[in-house]
């Protein structure tokens, strides 16, 4: 029976999103989600919807939005192929701890399990790639599921949530009384920090001659950037960043020594095996960071500040695990440690940095060859970019080079697919990041391979007029794979060379202003033009075809075997 106060399930979906203060939905319509789309028509003043050109684009855009804003990204898709197109993004958000709520339509409840048109078991398929998921089959369960979904997505270690709503639940009528979720018994978010662990950690740090701190995205997710800075200010301990940690500490900080991992900096990798106390904050010792675990920091006593209990002792055995929010644990630790400085130890980092400058950076930034390098493009961008410019990168050589040379000064300026390494991530993620704030400078650095995985989102950029600055570093190769083929497969370039379209014409077909740079003498000017342009801009830079990214820790090698060439 329908009472006066009842509304359709589809309206409950939209009102619930509004109640959660969602401002923007990235999505794509289809049969099983049409009632929600119909409802959206009535709410366009309260909530924005962006039509991407592919569901993968929608979810990456939601990721970009979430990463830059710290809010939950929202994504909408239909059943079957719409839902399966979200899977890559879910897996990406899961491994990179990005808060998302994805809502998919599903066939009507009475058709479930019958192989109905566009029926797919998306709850089953997405189970390993979500923090939580649920199928809602009744209208009265919609609002509670969305409330719980938002709570789970944003609390604790953030992650993606998928809510699959059958069509009957969307069209049935029910009461809307939205109660935000504030917690439930099986999911405890707040762990009080163990003061004993802090004490033990402080003692280790006090005794340390060569302490070394590694920070990851956990600092950003935990909003602990200031606490990290205070800790480093007080202790004088050298600090290095993971790929996703970049931005959590300004690179201008005197203790900042560079980047970790396979293509990170020379000193931070090498000296990992020379420190005596290793303090890891909000990072998970990914194999791209550690190299061969059996030869990773064996000499060091490890202190791990981490929110996720399953990460402590997962890859690296720790001396002290400090479980809990690093915003709290860092400030407790700062209080417990003594003022200090490590000029000699820091000097060692600077010495090795000099070696890297001479052996690698000089070539990358001020090349003597005719061909342009990716490094000089990024270093020119540094000259003109805003301090809080957001860098969104795809996956490959350009990603590593952009990360290596981009000058990070502010938090939440590094958006890239870290854990999953998803080609095609950058263009839609940049769109999402830009839509959070039109006035922010969003620079999307992408390869000629990766851009073609989601190039259709130029359409969404056109339609939204998002002023994204797209920098295509075109080496006519799947460059990172080609580099491995050169180094480890006898230069057998098996299926890595690309015959590319005329990207400029393509961008222009979408009404996006485009320019191509092939010579060094027009590079700087073109970058300046791009950055001052009011609106989206497509800059293709033709770079050296067979350049390599160094330093490098080859697979199976130890961090101390980091190579400069």
């Amino acid at each position: 029976m329908k009472e006066e106060s009842m509304i359709r399930g589809a309206d409950i979906v939209v009102q619930s999103l509004i109640a959660e203060q969602a401002e923007i939905i990235f999505g794509y319509p289809g049969g099983a989600i049409m009632p929600v789309y119909d409802a959206l028509y009535d709410y366009h003043e309260q909530i924005k919807h962006v039509l991407t050109r592919h569901e993968q684009g929608a979810i990456h855009a939601a990721q970009g939005y979430a990463r830059v804003s710290g809010k939950v990204g929202v994504c909408l898709a239909t059943s079957g192929p719409g839902a399966t197109n979200l899977i890559t993004g879910l897996a990406d958000a899961q491994i990179d701890s990005t808060p998302l709520v994805c809502i998919t339509g599903q066939v009507a409840a009475h058709l479930l399990g019958t192989d109905a048109f566009q029926e797919t078991d998306v709850v089953g398929i997405s189970m390993p790639g979500t923090k939580w998921n649920i199928q809602v089959r009744r209208v009265e369960d919609i609002a509670p599921a969305i409330a719980k979904g938002f709570y789970i997505a944003r609390s604790g270690r953030p992650g993606p949530v998928l809510i699959d709503i059958t069509k009957n639940a969307q069209v049935d009528f029910g009461q809307m009384n939205y109660t935000p979720c504030l917690g439930f018994r099986s999911y405890k978010v707040h762990q009080p920090i163990d003061p004993n662990a802090i004490q033990k950690a402080a003692e280790l740090i006090k005794e340390a001659k060569r302490p070394y701190l590694l920070f990851g995205q956990g600092v950003v997710l935990g909003k602990a950037e200031t606490e990290l800075k205070f800790f480093l200010d007080k202790t004088g301990i050298p600090a290095a960043s993971t790929l996703l940690g970049s931005g959590a500490l300004s690179e201008d900080h005197p203790n900042y020594v560079g980047k970790l991992g396979m293509h990170g900096n020379y000193a931070p990798n090498l000296l990992t095996n020379q420190c005596d106390v290793l303090i890891a904050v909000g990072m998970r010792f990914d194999d791209r960071v550690t190299g061969d675990l059996k030869r990773y920091a064996k000499q060091a006593k490890v202190i791990h500040l981490e929110l996720d209990a399953a990460e402590i002792n997962k890859n690296v055995k720790v001396e002290v695990g400090v479980l809990g929010d690093c915003k709290e644990s860092l400030s407790m630790l700062t209080e417990a440690v003594e003022q200090g400085s490590h000029p000699e130890w820091l000097g060692k980092f600077r010495e090795l940095e000099q070696m890297e400058k001479e052996a690698v950076m000089q070539h990358d930034i001020t090349p003597t060859k005719v061909g342009l390098t990716m490094g000089e493009v990024i270093s020119q961008i540094n000259r003109y970019k805003a301090d809080d410019a957001v860098l969104v990168t795809d996956v490959g050589q350009h990603q590593m080079i952009a990360w290596r040379y981009f000058h990070y000064k502010k938090t939440r300026t590094q958006i890239t697919s870290g854990g999953l390494g998803t080609m095609g991530f950058a263009l839609p993620a940049a769109l999402g990041a830009q839509l959070h704030d039109y006035s922010r400078q969003v620079i999307c650095v992408v390869g000629d391979g990766g851009i073609q995985m989601t190039i259709q989102e130029l359409g969404a950029i056109m339609q939204t007029k998002a002023p994204v600055k797209i920098v295509l570093l075109n080496n006519n190769y799947l460059g990172m794979v080609r580099q491995w083929q050169q180094m480890f497969f006898d230069k057998r370039y098996s299926f890595t060379e690309l015959d590319n379209p005329d990207f400029i014409k393509l961008a222009e077909a979408y009404g996006i202003k485009a320019q191509k740079v092939t010579e060094r003498n027009t590079l700087t000017e073109s970058i300046e033009d791009m950055l001052i342009h009011d609106g989206p801009y497509f800059l293709e830079v033709v770079v050296e075809k067979e350049d390599n990214v160094f330093p490098m820790i080859a697979t199976g090698c130890s961090v101390e075997e980091v190579r400069l060439s």
Binding site: V123, G124, M127, P128, K131, W132, N133, Q135, I152, R185, S186, Y187, D308, A309, A310, N313, K314
Partner: protein, 166 residues
């Protein structure tokens, strides 16, 4: 490699078992036996999983299981830390019942829980070694069917389910 019993106390929601088994699949760990049932508390399920693996691995598994949103608590014990029992049923053709089998039934504390025209069903509760021993013997008596449950177990540690819920 050792035998461990993993206990999972969880909300009774659809798909939870799936989420748990995915964790074993990802790590390539075989589940020796698994029992799921309602607990003494309404709406709370209890899952008992038996695995043979290293302690390091069992810690990883338990940590991952506990991360599942709807799982309330997961923990593990070695065999010495639990009291456990398995139940086995043996279907034997009536034609093979004789004095020697009667003796075996008595020796193994088996019970005849069903006697049909053509067969009888024996039941034994015990540890796997015991039920296995009887299985080997009964194979010589024309055993028609055999089924063994997973382990049901309680931990020796003094904690109640309510303590996990609070």
């Amino acid at each position: 490699m050792k035998r461990y019993t993993i206990f999972v106390i969880t909300e009774n929601f659809i798909g939870i078992l799936n989420r748990i088994t995915i964790i074993f699949t990802r790590r390539g760990i075989n589940i020796d036996a698994l029992t799921a049932s309602e607990s003494s508390v309404d709406g709370i399920h209890r899952i008992t999983i038996e695995v043979t693996t290293s302690e390091e691995m069992v810690v990883h598994l338990v940590n991952q299981i506990e991360k599942i949103i709807d799982v309330i608590k997961a923990f593990y014990h070695e065999d010495s830390g639990v009291v456990y029992q398995e139940i086995a049923l043996y279907k034997i053709p009536v034609a093979r019942l004789d004095g020697s089998l009667e003796k075996i039934i008595r020796q193994h504390h088996a019970k005849i829980i069903s006697a049909e025209q053509e067969f009888v069903v024996l039941e034994v509760a015990g540890h796997k070694e015991q039920t296995q021993e009887l299985l080997e013997i009964l194979k010589g008596y024309g055993l028609l069917e055999f089924a063994r449950s997973g382990r049901v177990a309680v931990a020796k540690r003094m904690r109640t389910i309510d303590q996990y819920l609070s």
